[in-house]
């Protein structure tokens, strides 16, 4: 006798999805909802009376020059550091993909940096880039004051960009290398036999075939430059000098936790979230068109 338990497709689907949905709700939607609620109120840090203020927090933030400065700084940081990290990683991956002696060693060495935690990395770079004691103190001795991240905003921005790109070069490198390795050797060999040089092969064969990876990394790098930059900024510049490196994510932290302005920080988080959503949509709508999925 056959015993059969039957579920409708719908109910079994839900049943299996419940734990996952519960987790997503508890850890993603509930806090996000909480942030939306906080952003519409004035929260007293110790709890107790919370005042409903509607969109007042957003008005206050968007009318503050400091906040616009922080948006500009974030965009500059995201643009330059993503460009740098991707370009260097692409070049290195293209080079190590070729059958060079010792390319395995290169791979390992280049993958390592991604394993270093942001604070440790930032600390190391803080020493390396310190104007008086660090690596660059030599140029400072020749031209006093030429490198001064403690007082010069552009220098400070440069130092966090260097640290962030350095870390993401490693990350991007892994993906680029995998993408290069996935290209059938026969394609490249055929092109070589037809007499095309290295650059031509790269432009016409390798580059089009790795565009999905480039696109993926672009989305990830930009998103991460908005969020993962926190540890580096906190340790290297703390948002200074004169707010030059006060990136959006760092301003959320310092206003919310150091300044105990939970509502203002919540409103800023919402804006940051929207900005990242918009950027991602933009990338999918306009850049993905050029991606060749093969």
């Amino acid at each position: 006798m056959e015993k059969r338990v039957t579920f409708s497709k719908w109910s079994i689907g839900i049943l299996f999805a419940v734990p996952q949905l519960l987790l997503i709700f508890t850890f993603f939607y509930w806090p996000a909802g909480q942030a939306v609620y906080w952003s519409l109120t004035l929260q007293q840090p110790w709890g107790g009376g919370n005042i409903w203020v509607g969109l007042e927090n957003f008005r206050a933030i968007l009318s503050s020059a400091d906040y616009w400065n922080s948006i500009t700084a974030s965009l500059v940081f995201a643009g330059i550091s993503t460009g740098l990290a991707m370009f260097i990683a692409l070049v290195l991956a293209a080079l190590t993909d070729r059958q060079l002696a010792g390319s395995r060693l290169y791979r390992v060495v280049l993958i390592w940096p991604y394993g270093i935690a942001a604070p440790a990395l930032a600390l190391a770079f803080r020493f390396i880039l310190a104007p008086e004691a660090g690596f660059l103190s030599v140029i400072n001795r020749m031209w006093p004051g030429i490198w001064d991240p403690g007082l010069d905003g552009a220098d400070a921005m440069a130092s966090i960009i260097i640290a962030f790109s350095w870390k993401y070069v490693g990350y991007n490198f892994i993906f680029f290398l995998a993408a290069f390795q996935a290209i059938p050797r026969s394609l490249i060999e055929a092109a070589a036999m037809d007499g095309s040089g290295v650059l031509r092969r790269f432009r016409d064969i390798q580059f089009p075939l790795i565009t999905p990876t480039i696109f993926f990394l672009l989305v990830i790098n930009i998103t991460e430059s908005f969020q993962d930059s926190f540890g580096i900024v906190d340790i290297m510049t703390a948002g200074g000098p004169a707010n030059a490196t006060n990136l959006m994510v760092y301003k959320i932290y310092s206003d919310g936790f150091k300044g105990l302005d939970y509502s203002g920080a919540a409103a800023q988080s919402i804006i940051l979230m929207l900005l990242i959503i918009v950027l991602t949509i933009f990338q999918f709508r306009f850049i993905e068109r050029r991606v060749h999925y093969g």
Binding site: G150, L260, D261
Partner: protein, 450 residues
């Protein structure tokens, strides 16, 4: 006299404690104390906690460092919102206004009274007590680690320019810096312009010169106080510092540039610094071999009648929502800390100053200030007690003051990097600081400071 009084009070409290607890007095009542000091200082606090636990059998304090002052306040708020707050917490000076409006504390003076301790509040140095007291003089928290800013000067460098005394006026400082520069010193004076240095550059300067930082008597008289440092003598001070910086008489030294100003002074690189008396121990421990140095009160502008400087550091708050047994323990703990013997232990091992007159007298009688590494620290007491506190020099009572200090650091950096003029920078500081105060007032509608 007061030692006997404290002794009796402690004895009485102990007796009450034993009487109440004896039927089931097997395990001591545990309670938590969270503090913001770390490193060497945290070890001293731990020893102090151990001493308290060994001094009696009824209570056991569990002391936990939260790393720094900011983190202590953040963690305590998070814990409070979750109903798991410590019984006693150390909160830094600038958090005082925020604490007062939190509604999350048990007034320390009420706690002591309810538990049978008689504390003589007149025994606290007025400059210290009034920073933490309400406008009516009630002590909501007890001062714990206190300090004030001093001028550290290198006697050897001053000897080179024919001086045997520290400069008393800012005019003298200007002349001395130039003379030292002419005598070949690369860095006559070091300053730091980060947010936290607001404490000595803006707050101490303003107090000593009896200049307001904000209206409404620095905020004591209402949440509608607004900054006014862009039109006091402070403008001239920043202008002079900038002028000396441009002339190469002052160098900016901070940790992120490789060497902070205390190290720069101790190593003999820079000849004058202004910093907390709390650094006295560090300088003594790390100074260059054979270097002669001393401390003096902060200079004033010529013709100024010197007022008391401000206290810095932190105080101990007892939080609401704990059991009576824990409150008894907290009261015993505060009483232990208040004891002059504890003050001597604390000051010897840290560099912080005693907060009570009896503690100071006890230490003087003990010969503390005559001994080599501690000599000079009494200048801090002289500076704090230079005058009876005025309505302005009793302290600063502004909401979200941490954010205002951050704004101070930002504008100082803009000024010293030549992005804005001194006046523009200070105007922006006031404008942005006022927005912060405005927001604090909106968060607590209809409330007033106690």
């Amino acid at each position: 006299m007061s030692i006997i009084k404290h002794g009796l009070a402690a004895f009485a409290a102990g007796a009450i404690g034993i009487a109440l607890a004896s039927p089931a007095a097997a395990a001591p009542t545990k309670f938590d104390f969270w503090f913001g000091l770390s490193g060497d200082l945290a070890r001293v606090v731990d020893t102090m906690c151990k001493n308290f636990n060994e001094s009696q059998k009824d209570y056991e304090v569990v002391c936990t460092s939260q790393g720094n002052y900011d983190a202590t306040l953040q963690n305590t708020i998070a814990a409070f919102r979750a109903g798991k707050q410590p019984t006693v917490v150390q909160v830094y000076d600038v958090g005082t206004a925020t604490m007062m409006l939190s509604g999350a504390y048990k007034p320390a003076d009420k706690l002591m009274e309810e538990n049978g301790y008689k504390v003589d509040y007149n025994d606290y140095f007025p400059g210290i007590a009034r920073y933490y007291a309400t406008s009516k003089g009630e002590m909501l928290s007890f001062p714990f680690n206190s300090s004030t800013a001093l001028l550290y000067w290198n006697k050897d460098a001053f000897a080179k320019i024919g001086k045997t005394e520290a400069p008393k006026t800012w005019e003298d400082v200007g002349a001395d810096l130039q003379a030292m520069k002419d005598a070949g010193y690369e860095c006559p004076m070091a300053i730091n312009i980060s947010a936290n240095e607001s404490w000595q550059l803006m707050e101490q300067f303003s107090a000593i010169h009896n200049q307001p930082i904000a209206t409404k008597n620095n905020g004591y008289d209402g949440l509608d106080a607004r900054l006014e440092v862009n039109k006091t003598k402070f403008v001239q001070y920043v202008t002079d510092l900038k002028k000396w910086y441009d002339a190469g008489l002052i160098k900016i030294k901070s940790k992120d540039l490789g060497q902070d100003m205390v190290q720069a002074f101790a190593s003999g690189t820079c000849q004058i610094i202004l910093t907390s008396v709390g650094d006295h121990g560090s300088v003594a421990r790390t100074q260059k071999e054979g270097m002669h140095w001393d401390v003096a009160e902060l200079p004033v502008y010529a013709g100024t009648e010197r007022k008391n400087s401000l206290v810095g550091g932190a105080s101990l708050w007892v939080l609401s929502g704990k059991s009576n047994a824990e409150y008894k323990g907290a009261a015993a703990f505060l009483n232990f800390i208040h004891d002059p013997k504890t003050a001597l232990f604390w000051s010897t091992n840290t560099g912080y100053i005693p907060v009570t007159k009896s503690g100071f007298d006890y230490m003087k009688a003990d010969g503390f200030y005559d001994k080599a590494p501690y000599k000079g620290r009494e200048v801090a007491i002289a500076s704090l007690t230079a005058s009876e506190p005025t309505d302005i020099t009793r302290g600063v009572r502004l909401g979200n003051f941490t954010q205002i200090r951050a704004e101070f650091g930002t504008q100082m950096q803009a000024i010293f990097a030549n992005k804005v003029s001194v006046q523009e920078g200070l105007d922006t500081l006031v404008k942005n600081g006022d927005a912060i105060l405005d927001r604090f007032q909106q968060t607590y509608p209809g409330k007033t400071l106690p």
